[in-house]
Amino acid sequence: MRRSTALRRIIPVIAVGALVLAACGSDDDASGSADGTLAPTDTGSGDTAPTDTDPGDTDSGAGDCSSTIDDGVLTIATGEPAFYPWVIDDAPESGEGFEAALALAVAAEMGYEGDAVVWTRTTFDEAIQPGAKSFDMNLQQYTITPERAENIDFSLPYFTSNQAIVALVGSSAEGATTIADLKDVKFGAQVGTTSLAFITDVIQPTQEPFVYDDNVGAKAALEANQIDAAVFDLPTALFVSGVEIEGSAVVGQFPADAGGTTDQFGFVLEKDSALTACVDAAITTLTDNGELDAITQEWLSDFTGAPVITVE
């Protein structure tokens, strides 16, 4: 009696187990063959090295600028909210702020102006999730990394930023001039940023850093005396210390060769998007004719000055 009850319970479990095992087996096979077929495409499009755009691609890409998600309209996404100084007053339509101005300039190069440019908002996750995208291109200070490029397309970089440290006046991070001075500092950073990777990989503090959903969390933690200092990209750091957190200052910035990931920002596009080459061509043009420099000067010139911290 007992045994058969136990048996009755177990048989469906065994059946499921067998099926799952079978599924895993076939899954492995499938992924094996899929990897095999996908690999050539990956290397072909050269996603891991966004700087490799051969001229042939650029030409054909420029002709490809029409394949947007909505015909005749270029949909550009940014963060919700979009932060100063990248977008002024959370209103990218105005073209005010570095990323807003840049996006409109790139769009114009691609042949989209005025009503032909539509703005939308996404989170980081929405930009990388599989399936149809709600945008043609997305910019919210996405750092270009090879790992990310496995799943999404990046344009050529449009900005290179240094990492910088913000601390409250009187904190243990104040006055630091070398990385050695920062070993015992309790750090905070925003999740998913290269700032966090910079803390763990380059500064390597003795205390584990705290991590927040956004800069607002890092700010609250500074004010709550839970961390000594937070790491941001330099323009954000200058804005945070100058406007958002009273009594804080930028302790210093790290030189671009400090190690870690070089913080180069690029547009995010759907993996293997036909538009990527077209965006690259636009950025190349803007770089060559000096317009990118002019936009950077106009919107970020106030956001580059800070003492340099050396790596030794």
Binding site: S4, R8, S31, L196, F210, V211, Y212, A221, N225
Partner: protein, 278 residues
């Protein structure tokens, strides 16, 4: 007694065999159809790449497991406090003396307010708000205030469960105990609470499973536990596989607990003599 099965036993055995056969076939059909049909969907390749990347899984799993230890620690030190506070609140709410009305009112407000605010908001409010009053670095630690938040929120839930358990003990039990000369507190301690706790084991386990997952909310105020580590890994690889890995790690803790809760429920049903109707 002969060894030959009775007609009734033969009939029941046949019914059981039929149940097993039907369960097996329906399981095979459902699971088999899922395995065959899902990969046929147009987005499957993309989903598999984004959610089930073997390399990303192997790279991130050890780190996630290490980060999960922090969740377990928070869970372990919060649970005794939750039980203690919730018991006090439930008892306060159960006092009957008119002079203790303020205590009862406090217990009602405590459960209403703390149960009514989403845990995620409480974590922010208490985790950043209290330390900002000017606490020293040691006492400003988000682990402390994150745990305090969990204790406040979950003790409000648990107090209501305990109260329900106390009220489910028949009034005649109290009356009997008092008529034997027991004091009010003796009655509560030795007669009511033991019976009440026996009744509420299943809902308590349920709440415990829920707590196991909500521990991850402490990450919102800084500490890097498994949910946060998965978020960091997700952003590093632009791939959701770390979330799948973290889910599996959570399941390894929550499934045994839910099974245990089911077992407790079944045992209680058997003891109270209720029959199972299929």
């Amino acid at each position: 007694m002969s060894d030959r099965p009775t007609r009734r036993e033969r009939y029941e055995r046949a019914r059981r065999r039929r149940s097993v056969a039907i369960a097996t076939v329906s399981t095979i059909v459902v699971v088999g159809a899922s395995i065959v049909l899902i990969p046929l969907t147009p987005g499957w390749d993309r989903v598999r790449q984004a959610f089930f990347d073997g390399d990303v899984f192997l790279d991130t799993f050890p780190g996630l497991l290490g980060a999960f230890w922090l969740d377990v620690k928070i869970l372990l030190w919060s649970t005794p406090f939750i039980l203690a506070v919730s018991l006090l609140i439930a008892l306060a709410r159960n006092t009957r003396s008119p002079a203790l009305f303020p205590l009862r009112a406090f217990a009602v407000i405590y459960t209403d307010v703390l149960r009514g605010i989403p845990v995620i908001l409480l974590v922010f409010l208490i985790g950043f708000g209290v330390p900002a009053l000017g606490l020293s670095r040691t006492w400003a630690n988000p682990l402390i205030w994150g745990s305090v938040t969990l204790v406040l929120s979950y003790s409000a839930y648990t107090a209501e469960i305990i109260r329900a358990g106390i009220e489910a003990v028949h009034e005649s039990q109290r009356a009997g105990a008092r008529s034997l000369g027991m004091t009010s507190s003796q009655t509560m301690r030795t007669i009511v609470l033991p019976q009440a706790f026996r009744k509420i084991v299943p809902p308590l386990m349920n709440t415990f499973v829920s707590l196991q997952k909500d521990v991850a909310l402490v990450s919102l105020i800084g500490p890097v536990e498994i949910l946060r580590q998965a978020g960091i890994d997700k952003a590093t690889y632009a791939n959701f596989t770390p979330y799948v890995a973290a889910s599996l790690i959570f399941l390894a803790l929550t499934i045994p607990c839910t099974r245990l809760a089911d077992w407790a429920l079944a045992r209680q049903r058997a003891r109270t003599g209720a029959t199972t109707i299929a």
